[in-house]
């Protein structure tokens, strides 16, 4: 390093500019503070909340939301929404369950077909967005409505019910159950294996975003699509891959739900798409793209899990949950707005 001395001198100046401002630019900071506050709050209110069984209990919904929130956050950083992410969970579970129970397909094969269906949905979303240049909000609103109709329509057509049952009696169910819906015992307390998957997916997603070329492109296309194209970023490929990652996660969660319960409702996943987006926004993702954090989104999911269960443990009416979530979201959006204004202010 020939420039070592200069670099050192410059580094010292960085400190003096202010740790606070630098920390504020960390997108996940707000979510982490929020999570700590919420944990302390409910721990004080309820002993069960902070007991091992309580922890296992609120980590479970957090994991399911978190597995989805990770790719949803990546997609948002890339500048897009996927409103079909919720109902795609239903589509994934229904496809697997129907193929296995009604058409005697081997469970693992049915899951592979279900994965192909999901990747197809993601590809379609991404391809339409890239080709038409229409807002992803509109494109995925139409796939959302389409899938919602298909989920219920096909399920009714085949089973005459609004759910598909009987997965637990199929061969290979036990193996699939161990992978997707098993439990891990830590200190005598059983934890859902989904929690482990959630942590792994968060680590992978964060690594991809921050440490790979693809991650750099995700930030770029969300920040300024035209400019990133000018410097040779493969914008179309990146966008389509992001949509496919969301639907792959929906496959995972949909199959986890079906395998855990042995059955799936035709309306599974409906309405959850907004929760994933809320988790990502609480985690510091800007609605306009180009900025955000995968870890933040996972912490957002954690907040969601803690709040939904904490309100029950505290003995409150569960209606308060939505109010709480609304307040969190508003706070998060206001914090993000500050970050964006700081980051975009020029001249110093």
């Amino acid at each position: 390093m020939t420039t070592a001395s200069t670099v050192k001198a410059a580094d010292e100046r960085v400190r003096s500019i202010g740790l606070v401002r630098r920390l504020l630019l960390k997108p996940e900071l707000g979510a982490v503070i929020g999570a700590v506050v919420i944990f302390v709050f409910f721990s004080l209110l309820s002993e069960v909340f902070r007991s091992p069984s309580g922890v296992a209990n609120w980590l479970d919904p957090a994991a399911t939301i978190g597995i989805m929130a990770v790719p949803v956050a990546l997609l948002m950083i890339g500048g897009h929404f996927d409103l079909s992410a919720g109902v795609a969970i239903g589509t994934a579970g229904i496809t697997t369950t129907i193929l296995t129970t009604q058409y005697n397909m081997v469970l693992w094969v049915a899951m592979a077909v279900s994965l192909l269906v999901c990747l197809g949905i993601g590809f379609l979303n991404g391809y339409l967005v890239v080709r038409t240049g229409l807002p992803s909000f509109i494109i995925t609103l139409s796939t959302f409505l389409g899938l919602q109709g298909l989920n219920v329509g096909v399920t009714k057509l085949i089973t005459d019910q609004v759910q598909v049952q009987g997965l637990a009696d199929e061969p290979f169910y036990d193996g699939a159950h161990a992978v997707f819906a098993g439990t891990i015992s830590i200190g005598g307390q059983d934890f859902q294996i989904a929690i482990l998957w959630w942590i792994l997916i968060t680590a992978l997603g964060s690594w991809v975003l921050l440490r790979t070329r693809f991650g750099n492109w995700v930030f770029a296309i969300g920040g300024d699509l035209g400019a990133s194209r000018n410097v040779g970023v493969p914008a179309a490929r990146t966008t389509i891959t992001l949509f496919m990652a969301v639907s792959a996660a929906a496959w995972f969660v949909g199959n986890t739900q079906a395998i855990r319960l042995g059955s799936i409702q035709a309306v599974a996943g409906f309405g959850q798409e907004l929760i994933f987006i809320v988790a990502a926004v609480i985690g510091g993702c800007l609605l306009t793209g180009g900025f955000g954090s995968v870890i933040g989104a996972s912490v957002g999911a954690l907040i969601f899990g803690m709040t939904s269960q904490g309100i029950v443990y505290a003995g409150w009416d569960s209606d308060w949950f939505k109010f709480f979530l609304g307040a969190m979201l508003l706070l998060a959006v206001l914090a993000n707005r500050f970050v964006r204004r700081y980051a975009e202010e020029s001249g110093k």
Binding site: R213, V231, A343, S346
Partner: protein
């Protein structure tokens, strides 16, 4: 002056439908020289850049690279030939860190297969070092580009182009949106690039920015060349007069000269004064 020009235009013409954007324009850029392209809005500067950077192909005339005729099929071809264009919008993402922007689209990697990853340590170090070489001491490569001033952003864009092997730098109005001090900084970088042996095409409408750094001046007006001059052949005043279109300036003075006491009248008096300082006389000669 005897060296073969790096890039040369001969009698270039470009039309869009029935609009003649450029006609009979010739100029050249040599290594270690700055060619300034001056012209008012609609003079054809943008079309000229797009021809040089491979976006458009001329309808007539020739483009010579190192003395041999070339045709660029697209911007990629021009880039491969070492011609880098720094556009006004800069192709930078405001919310992204400087080092991420610097390598955007050409990220260095390490590792293999699924472990191939963005070599962020190298990227940070190189970005900082390249900017230091240009005399820009960025406070922190992790700063978002949006927090940089306009001049600093231009500098990052220029440093990036130079680092990625540009021999010829085309700068599209790099000083137009900047304050005096910032513009001075960008001019300094233009001189630095020139001194490192790069050819520079500097597009501007400001003769006061062009004259101090330029070695050759191409003046455009309504798609036609008003002349392609070496610095020795033209003075700043002549250039400014040609640029400003002395006649128009003077006409404007007349129009405003209704009431000498009104604000408009005072502007008119100033304009007349300026016009005569440029060697244009009120009687229109």
């Amino acid at each position: 002056m005897t060296a073969t020009p790096m890039l040369e235009l001969r009698g270039v013409r470009k039309t869009f439908g029935n609009v003649i954007s450029l006609d009979g324009v010739s100029t050249s850029v040599r290594a270690g020289e700055v060619t300034c392209v001056l012209g008012d809005n609609g003079a054809g500067k943008s079309t000229l850049i797009k021809i040089l950077s491979g976006v458009h192909r001329p309808d007539a005339g020739e483009l010579l690279l190192d003395g041999a005729p070339v045709t660029f099929a697209g911007p990629r071809d021009a880039l491969d030939a070492g011609i880098a264009t720094v556009y006004q919008d800069l192709a930078m993402i405001p919310l992204m860190a400087i080092w991420r922007n610097f390598f955007l689209g050409r990220e260095p990697t390490k590792g293999r297969g699924p472990f191939r990853r963005f070599d962020s340590r190298t990227a940070r170090a190189v970005a900082r070092e390249q900017l230091l070489r240009m005399g820009i001491d960025i406070r922190d490569p992790d700063q978002p580009v949006g927090t940089l001033s306009g001049g600093e952003r231009q500098s990052v864009a220029i440093a990036r182009a130079v680092y990625f092997g540009a021999r010829l730098l085309i700068l599209d109005e790099p000083t137009s949106a900047l304050g005096v001090k910032q513009a001075g900084m960008v001019l300094k970088h233009i001189v630095q690039a020139r001194d490192r042996g790069l050819g520079v095409v500097f597009i501007t409408h400001n003769p006061h920015h062009a004259y101090p750094v330029g070695d050759r001046f191409l003046l455009l007006k309504r798609g036609r060349s008003l002349g392609d001059h070496a610095k020795a052949d033209i003075t700043r005043e002549e250039m400014t007069a040609l640029m400003a279109g002395g006649a128009e300036l003077e006409e404007l003075a007349h129009e405003l000269e209704r009431d000498p006491a009104s604000p408009a009248g005072r502007v008119a008096a100033d304009l007349t004064e300026e016009a005569s300082a440029l060697g244009i006389h009120p009687d229109g000669r």
